[in-house]
Subunit: 423 residues, 2 copies
C-alpha cells in the first residue's frame, strides 16, 4: 500500500498548471514574474522622476482616482431609450477585493436617476399597520442602525450567456451587473415594530420615488428578517444612482427588489402583481411556464482575472482571481479548473467570509503557453453547487433572462488572449 | 437572598439614560423618534415631488455623491506652508459603518500629492538581499494578492487633546486623521522571498516617491508578518492622495510608516534614523525623554454621533455611534457612559470584528434633556484598556503630539449642543 504524502505547495493540484492553494494559505514563495517587467537591480540608482523634483498638489475636499485610471469606468450602451433607462455595468476585471467603489457600483434604472432633495423626501409606512407613519430622512437617522457588507446583483446579470453562440464580450459586459458595498441603515423590522403589524399582513409593496415608481412585492418574512432601510453606502450617504437618500437592502435577493429612492412601504395580504413583477422579473422556463417570486440569487462565481482584454504576457506564473457569492448564505468552497472542467482544485478564499457577501477567491496557475479553458465553480453553505451550462439548460432552458448562474468559461489562446466560450 | 432577574432590553444599563445593548443584539423595538420629523400617516397621499414627474438623469462613467451632500468633505486649514504640506481630515461625524469612502480618507503629506505615471514608476528592493529586484507596477500585479480591511491612523491624531484647556473643536478637527479601507496587494514577504534575505538584515527602509522622499525604518519582522505592498484601495487602484500607484500597508502601525508612493525598500542591519523618524514621530514624555520606534497604535475609541455640530432635537431616544480600533489586535469590548465615566455599560459591536480594523459600536440612549457627558472606552483582545486623560497624563505627560489615545468626552448641554470637554 502506497502511503500518500502531502503535496508540496508548488505541486500541481489540478490539470494544466493549477497549483495548490497552500501557496496562498501558507504564504510560501511563488516564482516571480520575470519577463513581465521585473528585472534584476543593478548598482545604478533609480531614476529620479519629475514628480520627485517639485512639491505635489495640495488638498482637495473630495478626492478622485488618478487621471491615469480614467479608463476604469462603468460601461453602458449609447441610449436608444430615453435617458437613464437601462443599466450601467461595473468593470469587475479592473477591480480587486470584495468592496465595489461607490462610483463604480452598477446601476439599473427604469426612468433615470432622480435628483432628490433629502429635506423634501418622505418615507410612508401604511396599509395593514396599526399606526401609519411618515418619516423624514432626519427621523430615520435617529433610529438604531446596522451595517453589513452585501452584494447586490441584477436578476438579469449574465443573461448574454443564454445566447446560442458565445459572444465576444468581456467581464463587465457579461457579469457587470454586480456590486458590493458596506450598507448601513435602520432595520426594516424596527420600523415595522414602530408601526405595528396587523395580523393579516403577509407582503409589503416597496415603491421608489423615481418617475417609474418602481414597485415590488416583498414577503413580510424577509422584511422582518434581515432587510435594511439604508442611508449609507461604503461609509457615506448612499449615492444617487444607488438610491439617495434612502434605499432598501434585501440581502441576497435579486437587485431590483432592493428598491431605490424608497418612498413607500405598504403592508398587504398578498403580492401586488405590480407592472415590474408581471412584465419583468419572472424566470421563463423551457416548457412555456415561468417561475414567479424566485427572489434569492443562486450560488455563482466569475473569474475576473485573467479575462477578455487582460492578455497574458507569455508563459509563467499567474494568479487567477475572481468573486463568488450566494443569495442563500455564505460561500463554502470555490474550485477552479484550467482544463475546461476535467479537473478541479480548491481555490484560496479571502476572508472575511460573510453571508450574502461576495468572496474573493484566488488560485495559483502556471501557464505553459498552451490553450487553456479557465472555470470557477462555487458551493455555498446550503450545499448548492453552480451547475454547468448544460445542466442549467437542461433544467431551465436558455430562453429566460433572469438568474443565470451556470459555470462560465474563459478560453486562453496561445497568444495569451482570453475570450468568452461555452465549454 | 434576592434572585437577580435578567433586565429587560428597555431597562437602564448605566446612569443618565444608557440602555441595554440587547436592544441591538435582539432587534427589539426601540421607541420612535417622534417629534423629530416622524409623523402619523393620514389618508392623504404622499406629495408627488417634481423628481417623480420627469425621467431622471442618464448614466455616468464614474459616479459622484449627491449635490445635497456637498458639505461632506475633508477639512484642512488654508495653506500657510507650501501646497500640500500638512493634513486633510476625514469628517467622521458624517459617516457610518466601518469603511471610509476613498474620496474622504484622510491624508498626511510632507510635500504634496505627486502625480505619478504608473508606467514610469518602479519599486526597487535592494540592500541586504541576495538578488536586488526592480518591479514595474505591472509586474507587481502578477503576484498573488491578499485583501484586508484595515485602519490607518496618523500618529499625531487627537493631539489637540494635549492642550491644557479643551478646545472648541469637532470630531474631524480632533480625531479626523483616521481612515479605513479594504486594501489589496502583494504580501511584502512574497517579494522578500523573491529577492532573498541576507542573514544580517533586521530592518527595512521604505521610501516614497514624493518630493520629500518620506522614509521610515521598519522592523523586518513586521515586513514578514502582515505587511502588504498595496495596489488597490476599496476595490479600485489606490487613490493619489493615498499613495497611487503603490503604497505600503503595515496593519496597526502609525500612519506615516505606511509609506505612500512606495519606490524603494532597502534591507539594512539597523534602523536608518532618517529625518522623518528623528525630527518627528518620537513620543515625547514628561521627563524630557522620548520613546523611539513605538509603532503600533494603542487601543482607542471615539463617539462620532452625537458630537459637536450635530445638535440633539429635544429629549428622547438617540443612538450613540462611534468607532473603536487597536493596532495590537481586535476590539473585544467598548463601554459607554453618559455621566462622564461614573457608570458604564457595554455597547453593541458591529461585525465583522477584524484585527487592526475599526469596529462600529452602538449604544441606545434615552436623553432626558439634562446635561450629560458622553464617553467611550475600548478594550482590545490583548487586554489593553483606553486610559482616562488623567491616567494618560500621569504616565506620559501632555507635551507630546503622538499616540494620544485617552478617553474622549463630549458634553451635551440642555439645548442639545455637544462640545469637546475634559472630564
Amino acid at each position: 500500500m502506497v502511503r500518500k504524502t502531502r503535496p508540496e505547495p508548488g505541486d500541481p493540484a489540478a490539470g494544466n498548471g493549477i497549483l495548490s492553494r497552500r501557496l496562498f494559505l501558507e504564504g510560501t514563495i511563488v516564482v516571480g514574474a520575470t519577463g513581465a517587467g521585473l528585472s534584476r537591480g543593478s548598482a545604478e540608482p533609480l531614476t529620479v522622476q519629475p514628480w520627485m523634483k517639485v512639491p505635489g498638489r495640495g488638498f482637495e475636499g473630495y478626492g478622485q482616482p488618478s487621471p491615469f485610471e480614467s479608463k476604469v469606468v462603468k460601461v453602458f450602451p449609447p441610449p436608444p431609450n430615453p435617458a437613464g433607462v437601462g443599466a450601467s455595468r461595473t468593470p469587475l476585471h479592473m477591480l480587486e477585493g470584495m468592496i465595489t467603489p461607490s462610483g463604480l457600483h452598477f446601476e439599473r434604472s427604469h426612468s433615470g436617476v432622480p435628483e432628490i432633495d433629502p429635506a423634501q423626501h418622505r418615507l410612508l409606512i401604511h396599509g395593514l399597520v396599526k399606526r401609519p407613519l411618515v418619516f423624514t430622512v432626519e427621523a430615520l437617522s435617529r433610529y438604531p442602525m446596522q451595517s453589513r457588507i452585501a452584494f447586490i446583483e441584477c436578476g438579469g446579470n449574465s443573461q448574454a450567456l443564454n445566447a446560442p453562440q458565445a459572444q465576444p464580450l468581456n467581464v463587465a459586459a457579461i457579469h457587470g451587473l454586480l456590486g458590493c458595498a458596506e450598507w448601513t441603515g435602520v432595520r426594516f423590522s424596527t420600523l415595522l415594530d414602530e408601526a405595528g403589524i396587523e395580523p393579516e399582513a403577509r407582503w409589503v409593496i416597496a415603491e421608489g420615488a423615481d418617475a417609474a415608481a418602481m414597485s415590488r412585492s416583498i414577503p413580510l418574512t424577509k422584511a422582518m428578517d434581515d432587510a435594511l432601510v439604508c442611508l449609507y453606502q461604503n461609509g457615506e450617504r448612499v449615492r444617487p444612482s444607488n438610491g439617495y437618500p434612502v434605499r432598501l437592502l434585501l440581502p441576497g435577493f435579486e437587485g431590483n427588489m432592493n428598491v431605490k429612492w424608497l418612498r413607500r412601504l405598504k403592508l398587504i395580504a398578498g403580492p401586488a402583481m405590480t407592472k415590474d413583477e408581471t412584465s419583468k422579473y419572472t424566470i421563463l422556463l423551457k416548457d412555456e411556464k415561468a417561475w414567479q417570486f424566485v427572489f434569492p440569487i443562486e450560488v455563482k462565481s466569475v473569474i475576473t482575472r485573467p479575462s477578455p482584454g487582460l492578455a497574458l504576457r507569455g508563459p509563467g506564473f499567474y494568479e487567477i482571481s475572481g468573486l463568488a457569492w450566494s443569495g442563500n448564505g455564505s460561500i463554502r468552497q470555490v474550485d477552479v479548473s484550467a482544463d475546461g472542467g476535467r479537473s478541479w482544485a480548491p481555490a484560496a478564499l479571502q476572508g472575511p467570509i460573510l453571508p450574502k457577501a461576495p468572496v474573493r477567491f484566488r488560485a495559483a496557475w502556471q501557464w505553459n503557453g498552451g490553450p487553456a479553458v479557465l472555470q470557477s465553480r462555487a458551493t455555498d453553505d446550503t450545499g448548492m453547487v453552480q451547475p454547468t451550462r448544460a445542466q442549467f439548460a437542461d433544467e431551465r432552458g436558455l430562453r429566460g433572462v433572469y438568474h443565470y448562474n451556470a459555470i462560465a468559461s474563459w478560453r486562453i489562446d496561445e497568444m495569451g488572449e482570453a475570450s468568452n466560450v461555452y465549454a
